[in-house]
């Protein structure tokens, strides 16, 4: 279906963007209760490996291996979630980071799953993009509903003042575990999707930079609304691609406009400057991130902005 619309390269970009979006939502779930987790990359790895083992070693169809990956990640998520209950702030950050690193080490030494060579020849699934889009739609609907529900409010309350919420009767322990486990499941699903498109994963695929980028997606997108993960992951994943194409746009400028001094100098300068091979692109990417945190530390979309938008839409 969506197959025909895009060529292979574009498909890949879209799949990676989609996987990042799903990963961003996996961070958003525990974050709603105030738990900042740098371990989502680890859960992605768990989901990737679990599902890949099912499809490659046991011939299980992807449609079954996919939720299986999520399930395994979720179980491990709840296990990690227990000790995480009584830890906050930077300590939780470090605990989840340690978890992600341990997963990496396990992947590196587990020869059944490829060990240092990595897990190769994972069966490619041609409809990953459809799965990705479907998952994103479900996630947005889920979080939109959660936002307006009593449970969603309870999660916000836990985030804002955990002790007060507990004293008001909110079952903080169960809700935090639920949120954390949910995040792990979503991350596991994202990992499974990635693995069956890229057909190769190894211990460094879901490394600390990935873990940290997932956090970045949500904060840059705006952590106070459920659109944040979509916006942040979409924006930040596509940004380097966009930078790459800037030069192509420049070349569309009619020659007549730049044939004379000083425009020809300007053109030459821009043309050289926009020669964005990988590293240069990423330097600009990093700068943009810093600038964004200076100018819009609350993210692209804030709760107040959304409220104002809705208000104007309703009263226009």
């Amino acid at each position: 279906m969506l197959h025909a619309l895009f060529d292979g390269y574009t498909r890949s970009i879209l799949v990676f963007t989609g996987v990042n979006i799903i990963a961003a939502y996996s961070f958003y779930a525990p974050f709603k209760t105030g738990q900042v987790s740098l371990g989502q990359a680890g859960f992605m790895a768990v989901g990737a490996y679990a599902s890949a083992i099912m499809t490659q070693k046991f011939g299980v169809p992807f449609a079954l291996a996919f939720p299986f990956g999520g399930l395994v990640a979720g179980i491990i998520g709840v296990l990690v979630g227990f000790p995480a209950l009584r830890i906050k702030g930077i300590y939780l950050l470090l605990l989840t980071l340690a978890f992600a690193e341990i997963v990496q080490v396990v992947a590196l030494s587990w020869d059944f799953a490829g060990g240092a060579q990595g897990f190769r020849q994972i069966p490619f699934n041609p409809s990953i993009l459809e799965y990705v889009v479907g998952a994103i739609v479900v996630l947005i609907l889920f979080f939109a509903r959660l936002e307006r529900s009593s449970l969603g409010r309870a999660m916000d309350a836990i985030h804002q003042d955990e002790t007060a919420a507990e004293v008001m009767g909110v079952d903080v322990v169960r809700i935090k575990l639920l949120a954390f486990g949910l995040g792990a499941v979503i991350a596991g699903l994202a990992g499974a999707l990635y693995a069956h498109h890229a057909t190769y994963v190894d211990s460094s695929t879901f490394n600390i930079m990935v873990a940290v980028e997932i956090l970045m997606f949500v904060v840059v997108g705006g952590s106070s609304t459920y659109w944040g993960p979509l916006l942040g992951a979409g924006f930040l994943t596509l940004l380097p691609e966009f930078l790459r194409t800037l030069r192509d746009w420049l070349e569309l400028v009619p020659v007549a406009w730049t044939n004379f001094f000083p425009m020809n100098r300007v053109y030459d300068f821009l043309h050289d400057a926009l020669d964005f091979e990988n590293a240069k692109r990423l330097i600009v990417y990093g700068i943009i991130i810093i600038v964004m945190m200076i100018l819009r530390p609350d993210g692209l979309l804030t709760r107040d902005a959304l409220r104002r938008w809705r208000w104007t839409a309703r009263h226009a």
């Binding site: 900042v36 000790p83 980071l97 904060v219 700068i287 609350d298």
Partner: protein, 290 residues
């Protein structure tokens, strides 16, 4: 044999300590996880490399140059990515340092390429016998520099006026300001100092491993975090001791259990500490317990 391993452990640990010192100083003063610190370490290594290869400098000049370059980098980082970001927003300062990490790492890739680069030999290889232990000149050099640095830093923090100012600021910005401390200046000094030391650590690492890469910063960043927690957040002496301890634990587990397991050991220890003694082995030194 075990003495040999202990020496190796101390060398590895010294590297960890020097990086963790900057981390914990900055965290103590600003409650900020300065994620880009690992990249500063990497920049130091490359600065040293540059000086040796293109400037024909000897190792001491290279270290000095790296220290200055990284110190300046630290100051720039404060103006560019720390100060302008509002501190009351959750996580925004951390993301800003992540952006800085990306910039620095890719700057290095852009300039030096993505491969490992050989670090030229700068110290004449010689073996010395000290009792049951055989040490090479390189090992003695690295340990000597590391210990000297740590001792000098300790004296600075404990005895000098600026050191007292740093400790006061780590306790409470308000109280320090009331006592006449220029908090902004303290932050700058802390960054410069921490970064400079990390820079030297980078050069030492290059000497030890005879090779550096633009990606060496990430591993250093992660290990630095572990050591910082182990030693107690904000606790400089704790970071020094914890680094050495972790280095020895890693080398010993690599020797007696297996090389991949060595990282496992440090992360398991991290988890245990987080769960049962989050203040670290030696206690934290920040005002806000977060």
């Amino acid at each position: 044999m075990i003495y040999q391993q202990l020496i190796n452990g101390l060398m590895l640990g010294a590297s960890y300590s020097l990086v963790a010192i900057g981390y914990t100083l900055i965290f103590g003063v600003l409650n900020l996880l300065y994620f880009a610190h690992g990249e500063v370490f990497m920049v130091g290594a490359f600065a040293g490399l540059y000086l040796v290869v293109y400037g024909g400098a000897n190792i001491y000049v290279a270290m000095l140059g790296a220290m200055i370059a990284c110190g300046v980098l630290g100051v720039i980082a404060v103006y560019v990515s720390v100060r302008p970001v509002p501190k009351d927003r959750p996580l925004a300062p951390l993301i800003s340092t992540i952006g800085l990490t990306i910039v620095l790492q890719n700057l290095a890739v852009y300039i030096f390429g993505g491969q490992q680069v050989a670090f030229p030999e700068t110290i004449k290889q010689q073996l010395y016998q000290l009792g049951p232990v055989t040490m090479s000149s390189v090992q003695i050099f690295i340990l000597g520099v590391a210990v000297t640095l740590m001792a000098a830093l300790w004296l600075f923090i404990e005895r000098s006026k600026m050191g007292r100012a740093i400790r006061a600021t780590a306790e409470s910005h308000e109280t320090a300001a009331l006592l006449g401390v220029d908090v902004n200046r303290v932050v700058l000094v802390t960054f410069a100092l921490g970064s400079g030391i990390a820079g030297i650590a980078g050069v030492l690492d290059g000497v030890k491993n005879s090779g550096i890469s633009p990606f060496m910063g990430l591993a250093a960043a992660v290990k630095g975090l572990v050591v910082m927690l182990l030693g107690g957040l904000g606790n400089v002496v704790g970071a020094m001791l914890a680094g050495l301890l972790l280095g020895m634990i890693e080398i010993l587990s690599a020797a007696y259990i297996g090389t991949t397991e060595r990282d496992l050991a440090s992360f398991l220890i991290l988890i245990l500490i987080l769960l049962y003694r989050p203040t670290g082995l030696f206690g934290t030194r920040t005002a806000d317990e977060r």
